[in-house]
Symmetry: C2
Subunit: 449 residues, 2 copies
């Protein structure tokens, strides 16, 4: 006997049913047509004789007119209720879009049980950063808040589109690891079935391994840093946009690739995320070409220009990064600057040194509007060179056995970078605090919500 199976058809379910407002290419052409729509009741504004009901849909706020004599309402209508509705599209020059909806029939699908603990239906949200983050599942419903993460989505789409075009293979590397790539104390420890394991500080070792497989690879994924810094620039979990490429002629290839990736992504935003850019009044930077300066020259430049003492010789203070960006902006007009040739003392063991000046590495940071958003460079590919450097640094190579296999087995000259997605977003949107650019930020005080 044959069994009776039901059948599910592989046909997508459109967000809005056929003939509805948003399935139309040009809603203005639907003048006086009845459409169906759904969304959250963002705001109800009582007028004399009728109300404005602002409906929140994924892409925009829609102005609706609710005249209780002309509209049948099923259920109890209030702010944040989820509704389905039938409505007429009516021309209305005073509406932002040039049209509004006249509601005919509303079905309330679900009602909120309580008032919102924070007002989300204003232009922005008038609350402290702490409140904004405490109530994140709700505050993200605010029009400006949600636009932030649409732009972040757009940045990633732009990066990804560029990297795919340039023949980078997308990889997925483990986040539970047996060892950190960056070393030091800023690593989260984990109980892994009674043994110690760690959370990946970066996909560094894995992306290098994969250069031996695919030549060019990228990953956009979470990384974890147990840093105790409680600053406006630090997150303990963030999204790293990593790429790594083989057969480079020098680390400048990586810089050039990054500039092209950024330019591509900013162009992508301009084409596809215009509404969000204009809502947040984003000043898109130019990235057609990016100035570059050596680390020690940059240190001297800032010290000289601002009459500051040269304290920490091997690293930037955050204030110096800001000042350098100011100088660059003033002299070249650029919001970006590459700082190259960082001191060997401050770079990890896999960083390639300058043959003629081994005290500096063939590496770089990218600063964007005063903040470091990328670290990158050429890596050591020769086994003998890597082994010698580890021994010079007092490291035990036997702890890096499977990583060193790739050097033993043969690797092309290669290098890459990691770009902090939240930092990049924060600088693009000129936010004071990187937490504002993380959906659910993690810092030393916060793992909730």
């Amino acid at each position: 006997m044959m069994t009776k199976f039901e059948t599910i058809q592989a046909i997508s379910v459109p967000s809005y049913p056929e003939g509805s407002l948003f399935s139309a290419e040009r809603p203005e052409n639907r003048e006086n047509r009845e459409i169906t729509i759904h969304g959250s009741v963002h705001k109800i504004r009582k007028m004399s004789g009728f109300s404005f009901l602002i409906l929140r849909t994924p892409k925009r706020l829609v102005q609706c007119v609710l005249d209780s004599d002309k509209c049948q309402v099923e259920g109890f209508l209030k702010e944040e209720a989820c509704i389905r509705a039938n409505a007429l599209v009516v021309e209305e020059p005073r509406s932002k879009t040039g049209w509004e909806l006249h509601l005919k029939r509303i079905t309330v699908l679900s009602e909120p049980a309580e008032e919102m603990p924070v007002v989300i239906n204003g232009k922005g949200i008038d609350a402290s950063l702490e409140t904004l983050l405490d109530y994140r599942p709700l505050t993200l419903r605010n029009e400006k808040q949600r636009a932030v993460f649409k732009i972040q989505e757009g940045l990633c789409r732009g990066f990804r589109a560029f990297l795919e075009k340039e023949e980078f293979t997308e990889i997925r590397t483990p986040k539970i690891v047996y060892q950190g790539a960056e070393g030091g104390a800023n690593i989260f420890r984990l109980d892994y079935f009674g043994k110690d394991a760690y959370l990946a500080q970066s996909p560094q070792f894995y992306k290098q391994m994969m250069v031996g497989v695919y030549e060019r690879v990228f990953e956009i994924g979470p990384v974890f840093r147990a840093e105790k810094h409680d600053t406006a620039r630090h997150l303990n979990e963030y999204t790293s946009v990593d790429f790594e490429m083989g057969y480079i002629n020098g680390f400048q290839d990586i810089c050039q690739m990054e500039a092209a990736m950024i330019k591509n992504s900013l162009d992508y935003l301009q084409v596809h995320y215009g509404a969000e850019l204009s809502l947040l009044k984003v000043r898109l930077p130019e990235a057609d070409s990016i100035p570059s300066i050596r680390f020690h020259e940059a240190k001297e430049l800032v010290a000289g220009r601002y009459k500051r003492p040269l304290c920490e010789k091997n690293d930037f203070e955050p204030e110096e990064e800001k000042l350098l960006s100011e100088i660059v902006k003033k002299e070249t007009g650029s919001d970006f600057v590459f700082v190259t040739h960082y001191p060997t003392a401050k770079r990890p063991f896999y960083a390639m040194e300058d043959t003629e000046h081994p005290e500096v590495t063939l590496s770089f940071d990218l600063l964007f509007r005063g903040l470091e958003v990328t670290t990158g460079g050429q890596r050591i590919h020769d086994y003998g060179m890597q082994l010698a450097k580890m021994e010079r640094m007092g490291m035990d190579p036997s702890l890096f056995k499977s990583y060193l296999w790739i050097h033993k087995a043969g690797m092309p000259p290669h290098g890459g970078l990691g770009l902090g997605l939240e930092r990049f977003t924060a600088r693009l949107l000129e936010m004071d605090n990187v937490r504002q650019a993380a959906m659910f930020p993690r810092d030393i005080h916060r793992v909730m919500p």
Copy 2:
């Protein structure tokens, strides 16, 4: 005084230089043209009077002829050396591609320091799974091994392209969490600055929160399960393809969307990953329509057909999933089957129950060639209903405060699913063990490499 900055142009660096073999649309048109190329020496096969040198490039193995009288070699040439070369494109009907390269000049960029501990330049790799995984950074260089993860990349590109077209917003949710979504003991604990935190078992709570923001959301990212099962189907870290959508008419909308997503992705593979599919002799399944059966009917069907006792009433045994898939394949020809209406007792607290039959949920699994690859369903959106269910289950709602805000504040009817990327890949490629479909698998015994 103005500073002198160097300038990095935002122009991408092509993998192969202009005029090289792979920048040409049709390499066969380049007959007798000299080109430049780079890659790893995959194999050297000595013939009488000359050698075949098989060059491994990201996309294919290239047959080259090395005649030491006619080729100038700089450096010591051996297998796994990375080289740059100039060569002539020559027609050769006995080569798979119809052409081969006659090497003119070779520069060895880097040499391996040791012999490979495992032979990777055969068709496949003749080694145990343990060896294959122990030497993963090297074994992935094998042509068939690397094709696996190109196909996995293609699957993700296909999923992503579909979800973007269907107006899903890509989200990035935290992997360090204060609480698990699935409950139970299979959660990794973490020391988070002296407090307890956990690794996310799924983005469940967060994707539901984000339905309140964007209506349709997706995430492709790592999830972590501290399960002690040491089976061919379990990984302790895997990639979950999650989507969640609001304003559904029922859980069938989600099934339909998944079927469409899978069909779209398989079509995408066929168009863009033909070489890998044919190398691995992949039998692509049909997904135009997928049969569906209720859980308790499926249990009875398998028990009746195979004369098996009905033991565990509320869940499938792995063997039952295999047998059900066999029946479905025989009777409908489908490699997939949706099993719906799982018992309430075995689904999490947020699962929506069938109003008329509260002992079952409006949920489903998708089985693919005998293995569960997806779990999904409709979620509870009403605050009162969710609260009552948690209390009935003996849970403390105060522990889920920020999650329950979304129910309090108003949520549309919604649901979604999580698809295990490695499991899906493993079934697509008919692998015995899901570990073969993870680049660097993590299981109870393995966190290396």
